[in-house]
């Protein structure tokens, strides 16, 4: 298909503002009379609040002080349910839980004041591990510490063991991971009788914040307004937590009668906000003599922290992805999200899938070894094909060629030759540098799971102005991933215009349509399709009314818009998501068409390990994926490269150190993310099989790279060292211990 701007690397829409320093992030804004706000937090993991004392030589009368008593509506941050308080009133359930808010115009004095608030807590027994939570050492949430559990049943797992030639068992763990967007979280709020509550801030999901503030203030929809400022990275970390900061800033603004700005510093951001859920997975896998999967029995648990937040949905995605892109007749998955007295874990790019995919892809290399075939041969014999059924009962209707992706990734990385060469070289005991090459094959579903998109019922509005400029009005946010640019490309393509003629309206709940949250690899595929439909709708209005003839120029289009508006008034169209009728999902049985489409991928990592120091270097990384039509090659490759870098951090460096539910290395100095000298060349390749329901054939790709990177590296380290890697991060400290076992 001949395209005009789709498939072209047009420059980032807001790029010029960003490279000149003119892009305005929340901390760059200042309002007259504005106060600064800070949060006083719980020193204890669990307990009863006995007293709050305002001590020190602080002019307390100058301060605005807010506690739970100042909340006009419900004391909660409404999300899936309403269990998380905005400010702890009687009990605290995790370290750093917010209890008191302070505002003052002098931020230096404010910091002194924060330290002078004494909170006395009578401690209650707390639990800090998945094991203690499951053992119900204490019941800290609901009746049984379980936020949510799922059962997936395909075929008859128990009937398969008897006929199996091999049964392979394994347990795997993944740690918490900090999103570490470089712009810390922040909000500004203003509250007045006339205007209601308005907040501006760094966020992914304006309508999530909007809903939370309605419940907190007990105000109707139209009295709350949420505006997204330029957002310096999110990666899931600004999906649910911004509602908390918006709530705090708005409470201080209400009480003080002034605008209030809350900006977290890095330490507060790391210690108090959400992280990727730690996980534990157990696999028991049955195979035939020739290495065909007969049964997969998977038990998957994630640590949700102290409140439910998004844990049920994270668990859901992790569960559905746990059995990977393989055809296995009998699959049983039991999964649960459990409560511990840590700050709630939350959304992070991949959303449960990186945890369960790590376990599976590391496990399958061990399975291959047990069966006595190569890891790629095991995958080849079991890859899912068109017409076969995934674990959750979804028949794959897409054209899928996992084997083709794998062969391409192997050719690009020199996998087979290196695998052989490294095995030979590593067997020389004199060599201190051992090398390995490993891979992972995986899939990632795009959009909300199951009936999620149907419930969301996203909307997009588009308006052609009299001068021919076309406005896109959607709640979908730009946080670096390219929303503005690809929306402009999709609209420009539909309208046969250039991207410059398309204007993306800043997400502001007072003006834009609710296109759903900017999460779940759904923006390009689901919302992008609505943008495309809206563009075609506008065009139809112009051509049906004979304002515009085929073969028009940009000038013709502008003239036609002017004439239309003069004759009929505003030229505006609304499009609402319609769930495809052939996609069925059963929420109770947890089976059916989990996602409209999947991205498919094979990643290959090459590493070297110095067995004296246990230092791991990733020397090469090849990422091959099929993501439907690529809308903007530079942006798409940038998404994959950045995701692989985060995945390398997840695998090797990013270690959250916990002490009684509190992150104790909450600094960039000792929580280490990859720098420019740590990463290999990340080589990205796309296969493009247009997806009929995506805009111009596009599928989602944003989360995909987090799934396969860590297991590819773990498998490479296993080849290099002989260490049976079972958990990430594989820091030098943990690897050194394991190496002592192997090379002693």
């Amino acid at each position: 298909m001949e395209t005009r701007v789709i498939g072209k690397s047009v420059p980032r829409k807001e790029g010029r503002k960003k490279v000149t320093g003119r892009a305005r992030y929340v901390d760059d804004l200042s309002f007259p009379g504005m106060l600064h706000g800070v949060t006083v937090r719980s020193p204890a993991a669990r307990g009863r609040i006995r007293a709050i004392r305002f001590e020190g030589e602080i002019p307390w009368h100058e301060f605005t002080v807010v506690t739970a008593k100042d909340i006009p509506g419900k004391n909660c941050i409404a999300l899936l349910i309403e269990d998380q308080p905005c400010l702890a009133a009687e009990f605290v359930n995790h370290p750093e839980e917010a209890i008191v808010l302070l505002a003052h115009h002098d931020k230096y004095l404010l910091e002194e004041a924060r330290r002078a608030v004494r909170i006395e807590i009578e401690p209650l027994p707390a639990i800090f591990s998945i094991e203690d939570s499951r053992a119900r050492k204490e019941i800290i949430w609901g009746q049984d510490n379980i936020f949510k559990s799922f059962c997936v049943d395909k075929g008859d797992v128990d009937g398969a063991w008897a006929s199996a030639a091999f049964v392979v068992e394994g347990r795997y763990e993944t740690g918490a991971q900090e999103q570490l967007y470089i712009e810390p979280q922040g909000m500004i709020a203003q509250v007045s009788e006339a205007e209601g509550v308005t907040v501006w801030g760094s966020l992914q999901c304006p309508h999530y914040v909007h809903k939370a503030l309605m419940v907190l203030f007990g105000l109707p929809r139209e009295r709350i307004r949420v505006v997204q400022t330029e957002t310096g990275g999110g990666f899931g970390g600004k999906e649910e937590y911004p509602s908390m900061i918006a709530a705090h800033a708005a409470l201080l603004a209400r009480k003080s009668g002034r605008p209030v700005k809350i900006i977290y510093d890095r330490a507060e951001d790391m210690v108090a906000t959400t992280k990727r859920h730690p996980s534990r997975t157990r696999h028991v896998t049955a195979l035939s003599r020739d290495g065909r999967l007969l049964a997969m029995d998977i038990d998957f648990t994630v640590d949700g922290g102290a409140y439910e937040t998004l844990s049920p949905v994270v668990l859901s995605r992790g569960t559905i992805h746990a059995a990977g892109p393989y055809a296995c007749p009998n699959v049983r998955i039991r999964s649960r999200a459990v409560a511990t007295n840590a700050p709630p874990h939350g959304a992070f790019r991949g959303f449960g899938a990186p945890q369960s995919v790590f376990a599976l892809e590391r496990h399958l290399d061990r399975v291959a070894e047990a069966v006595g075939i190569a890891p790629d041969e095991l995958r080849r014999r079991n890859f899912i094909r068109e017409g076969q059924t995934l674990a959750v009962g979804q028949v794959v209707k897409e054209k899928v060629d996992m084997n083709g992706l794998m062969e391409r990734a192997f050719a690009l990385s020199g996998y087979h030759a290196k695998r052989k060469k490294f095995a030979a070289a590593n067997s020389d005991p004199r060599g201190a540098i051992k090398k390995g090459i490993g891979f992972a094959s995986f899939l990632h579903g795009a959009g909300f799971t199951g009936s999620g998109e149907e419930y969301l019922a996203s909307e997009v509005a588009m308006e052609a102005m009299a001068d021919g400029t076309v406005h896109i009005l959607a709640g979908s946010t730009e946080m670096g991933q390219g929303t503005n640019t690809i929306f402009a490309q999709i609209a420009a393509e539909a309208l046969r215009l250039d991207c410059e003629q398309i204007k993306i309206i800043q997400p502001d709940t007072a003006y834009v349509a609710n296109s759903g949250p900017t999460v779940a690899s759904r923006t390009a595929m689901i919302v992008g399709k609505l943008v495309e439909t809206a563009g075609l709708g506008l065009l139809k209005s112009l051509t049906d009314g004979e304002f515009l003839q085929p073969g028009y120029t940009a000038a013709d289009f502008s003239r036609a818009c002017g004439e239309y508006v003069a004759k009929h008034g505003p030229l505006k169209t609304f499009v609402k998501y319609e769930h495809p009728r052939d996609l069925h999902w059963d929420d109770l049985k947890y089976s059916g068409d989990a996602y409209g489409a999947y991205a498919w991928a094979v990643y290959v990592a090459e590493v070297s390990v110095d067995i004296r120091t246990a230092e791991v270097r990733v020397n090469d990384f090849v990422a091959v994926q099929e993501v439907g039509k690529v809308i903007n090659p530079v942006l798409a490759a940038g998404q994959i490269e950045g995701g692989v870098a985060q995945g390398i951090g997840f695998a090797l460096y990013e270690n959250v150190v916990w002490q009684e539910g509190r992150m104790v290395n909450a600094q960039m100095t000792n929580y280490v993310m990859p720098t420019s000298v740590d990463l290999p060349a990340i080589r990205v390749y796309f296969e493009e099989i247009p997806y009929g329901r995506g805009p111009a054939g596009a599928k989602g790709l944003g989360e995909l790279p987090l799934d396969g990177t860590a297991p590819a590296i773990a498998n490479a380290i296993a080849q290099a060292t002989g260490v049976d890697v079972r958990q990430i991060p594989i820091t030098a400290e943990t690897l050194l211990e394991m190496l002592e076992g192997v090379h002693a």
């Binding site: 790029g15 000149t20 320093g21 901390d27 712009e183 310096g232 940038g638 490269e641 950045g642 420019s676």
Partner: protein, 163 residues
């Protein structure tokens, strides 16, 4: 209330123009630039000199402005991201970041671009290792650095074709 230091007057040259401000001697230069001089292109990412989002040039050297006390700015020449483009025309590094996907969320971008411009001033033809080393004090969470390296290489090429 505890005794506080008194503010001092500091004079320096910022982006080619004379600048003068009052600040506590140990105030962070980052805050002075952002709050007194309204140069909000310089960003704070960590406040402890790890991330480089607050990078500026001071007498030609790249520094983390979150670690520089205001008094140290006295008599220096400072360049921030706002001083890089001349008139309406982008610096070669800015243009390359725009074309080659060097900026995603944009929060590390001002510091990263200054680091790249500073690198090219020292090594007009940097090799891969020099580029990686030169940018290693500036963290980016979005790009995985690949498109940033490409942008720097493109800026070098552009400079070559002009020469």
């Amino acid at each position: 209330m505890p005794e506080r230091a008194r503010k001092i007057r500091v004079s320096c040259v910022v982006n080619g123009g004379a600048a003068s401000f009052e600040a506590y001697p140990m105030a962070r230069l980052l805050d002075v630039l952002r709050e007194e001089l309204k140069l909000t292109g310089t960003k704070e990412g960590c406040g402890e000199g790890e991330c480089g989002a607050c990078s500026i040039e001071m007498d030609g050297a790249l520094v983390n402005s979150c670690l520089v006390p205001a008094l140290q700015a006295q008599g220096t020449k400072i360049r921030t991201i706002e001083g890089l483009a001349i008139g309406g025309s982008l610096h070669a590094v800015q243009q390359a970041f725009l074309t080659h996907g060097g900026a995603q969320c944009g929060i590390c971008t001002p510091g990263m671009i200054l680091a790249a411009a500073n690198l090219l001033a020292r090594y007009p033809q940097p090799d891969d290792a020099q580029i990686r080393e030169g940018l290693s004090g500036n963290l980016c969470r979005c790009t995985g650095y690949m498109k940033i390296f490409e942008s720097v290489v493109a800026a070098v090429r552009r400079a070559e074709t002009r020469a």
